[in-house]
């Protein structure tokens, strides 16, 4: 399998919302390439007819009764907010100017 390039690492960093410096990209590209080469062995089983396991427990759709119960107060929920306004989380601009 092909290794990972510096450009791919830059793309991954963007997808993962990590603003990396150029020297960090160099550093991580080498390390990620080593790791991916080491773990690529798993693809030895890619052709085997084996069902995937995503979880150790065979549970599906665990439900609880749909009942009203106490929850965090707005004050508690906002207690760690970097910024708040009118009992809401205040965030930087999300949409463009237009």
């Amino acid at each position: 399998m092909p290794g990972i390039t510096r450009e791919e690492v830059a793309h991954l960093a963007r997808l993962a919302r990590l603003e990396l410096k150029p020297e960090e990209l160099d550093h991580f590209a080498g390390q990620l390439d080593d790791i991916i080469n080491a773990v690529a062995r798993v693809s030895d089983v890619a052709d085997q007819d084996v069902p995937p396991t995503s979880h150790p427990l065979p549970l599906t759709n665990v439900m609880r009764p749909d009942e009203v119960r106490p929850s965090l107060t707005p004050q508690q929920a906002l207690s760690g907010a970097p910024a708040e306004e009118q009992q809401r989380f205040k965030v930087p601009q999300i949409l463009g100017e237009e």
Binding site: A16, L18, L32, R41, V45, A46, P51, H55, P56, P92
Partner: protein, 497 residues
């Protein structure tokens, strides 16, 4: 004071119950010990002196009123800093949560308080539990009490170092790939990863949700069992929590025996990369099991050879998704919000500033493994390996009641030695990872010191899911036999700090 801190949790609780000691005396003795040695060890990120004394006073008042006390009432405990604690900082060893005060308690925290345990504080850890040395903490490394220039293992190095240095008799850890057992092994203590789903994950900051499992850290097998019982059991707040009674772990720890048990030695867990002294102590442990009446069989788990690779795809994949919640919007660090930048830019700047290198590596690795074009080859294959590993376990548990192996291939390595070599670091979890992938219960307990470096070696015991009591039954027998052979618990050979 020295005597109090060296008591087991079981004995401490007994003395508090009879009035020979008060919970306040016990808390004060441990707080004094922390004050005296933690500058050197750096096991704690936060010590809650006032809260601890208040909890201790409540236990003493309860006793004075003649109310019944639980089996661990008044016993101090340290919590790995990823269990949320209402009103007490929880950092997960990361700058991104520096100063965050959770508005709620984890289920584990709540159960411990209800059982009358006294929470001393929060312990150091690799950031987001990603690491095997505690060097990835944003708040500096922790020293191994056996040799402060060496790592205490990780990610729960703070918890294991705290109990190994008598700063607490009990601690809570979490184990995603070995983060309870590997630190226990290299510090000469006992650590248990319960069956997946055996202990609630509610209020544990998530790393890899299908692998993470909270569990006990202690100095004796019985103490670990008492803590396991206190925290275990169904929790409606965790949808992956098993709705069944806690296995009879305390009863098993009180009646240790391997008489007539079949013990499987996993063929795959030896060879290249295993330190000679580790192999020697492991072989002696197997011999001891035989002397104690166990039937030893060699078992073959060929898929285990792929476990490490599968783990380093599955865990990063789940972490890349879980850590998306750290977006600088609702809690934690926010960097660069100067009115000109978009939310997306602020998120990216914050994550770059708030996450350390290992977290960044794993988030990117997971993003890669889950991306279209690579998903089938990497994440899909890793999930198949997981099935094969579960099948290996299923097959060999027909031949053996428990499996044994060294917990880690080597003893504690030097601080800095593997810090910038991720693959070398990952090898520390070689023997512990299969149990996480399949959801089995597993324990590490001390089995001696490696002759070449005088550092502790851990024996790992693995049991089928929901048969956690077998760990304690075997562990208690092995522990008793070793203590008799050595003439004292292994930790008494640790240098005084």
């Amino acid at each position: 004071m020295t005597d109090i801190i060296r008591l087991t949790a079981a004995d401490t609780a007994a003395k508090i119950a009879t009035g020979e000691l008060t919970a306040v005396q016990v808390a004060e003795a441990h707080l004094a010990r922390i004050e005296a040695v933690d500058e050197k060890v750096h096991a704690f990120l936060h010590v809650d002196r006032e809260g601890a004394l208040e909890q201790a006073r409540a236990v003493d008042a309860k006793r004075e009123r003649g109310e019944p006390l639980g089996p661990l009432a008044g016993v101090p405990i340290a919590l790995k800093d990823l269990f949320t604690t209402e009103g007490i900082p929880t950092t997960v060893g990361s700058k991104i949560l520096e100063g965050w005060i959770p508005p709620y308690d984890a289920t584990v925290t709540r159960r411990l308080k209800e059982a009358g345990l006294v929470v001393l504080g929060k312990t150091n850890m690799d950031e987001f539990a990603m690491g095997s040395s505690t060097e990835n903490s944003a708040y500096g490394p922790t020293g191994n009490p056996w040799d402060l220039t060496r790592v205490p293992g990780g990610s729960g190095g703070g918890s294991s170092a705290a109990i190994a240095s008598y700063q607490a008799p009990l601690a809570m850890g979490t184990d995603t790939g070995g983060s309870i057992r590997q630190p226990a092994a290299v510090t000469g203590t006992v650590g248990v990863k319960p069956t997946y789903g055996g202990v609630s994950r509610y209020g544990m900051v998530a790393f890899s949700s299908s692998l993470d499992q909270g569990g006990p850290c202690a100095r004796t097998v019985l103490d670990a069992a008492l803590l396991h019982e206190a925290i275990g059991g169904h929790d409606p707040l965790d949808s992956t929590s098993i709705d069944a009674p806690v296995p009879p772990v305390v009863e098993a720890a009180r009646s240790g025996s391997v008489e007539g048990m079949r013990v499987g030695v996993v063929k795959q867990f030896r060879g290249e990369g295993y330190q000679a002294g580790v192999v020697q102590r492991f072989d002696e442990s197997v011999e001891l099991l035989r002397e104690l009446g166990a039937e030893v069989v060699e078992v073959d788990c060929p898929s285990f050879d792929l476990a490490l690779s599968a783990y380093y795809l599955i865990a990063p994949s789940e972490c890349s998704s879980n850590l998306a919640r750290f977006d600088a919007m609702r809690y934690g660090l926010r960097v660069g919000d100067d009115g000109t930048r978009s939310a997306e830019e602020v998120t990216a700047l914050t994550r770059a500033a708030g996450f350390g290198d290992e977290v960044k590596r794993r988030v990117m690795l997971g993003t890669y493994a889950l991306s279209s074009g690579y998903y089938d080859a990497y994440y899909g294959s890793a999930q198949k390996v997981r099935t094969l590993i579960a099948r290996d376990f299923e097959r060999v548990f027909e031949q053996a009641d428990v499996l044994v192996s060294p917990t880690t291939p080597t003893t504690a390595f030097a601080i800095g030695e593997r810090a910038d070599d991720p693959m070398a670091m990952y090898l520390a979890d070689l023997c512990t990872i299969p149990a996480n992938l399949a959801g089995n219960a597993a324990m590490s307990l001390p089995c001696g010191l490696a002759p070449e470096d005088g550092l502790p070696v851990g024996l790992q015991i693995i049991a089928p899911a929901m048969r956690d009591e077998r760990l304690y039954k075997v562990g208690a027998a092995v522990e008793a036999a070793f203590v008799e052979r050595w003439g004292h618990p292994l930790l008494e050979e640790a240098p005084s700090l």
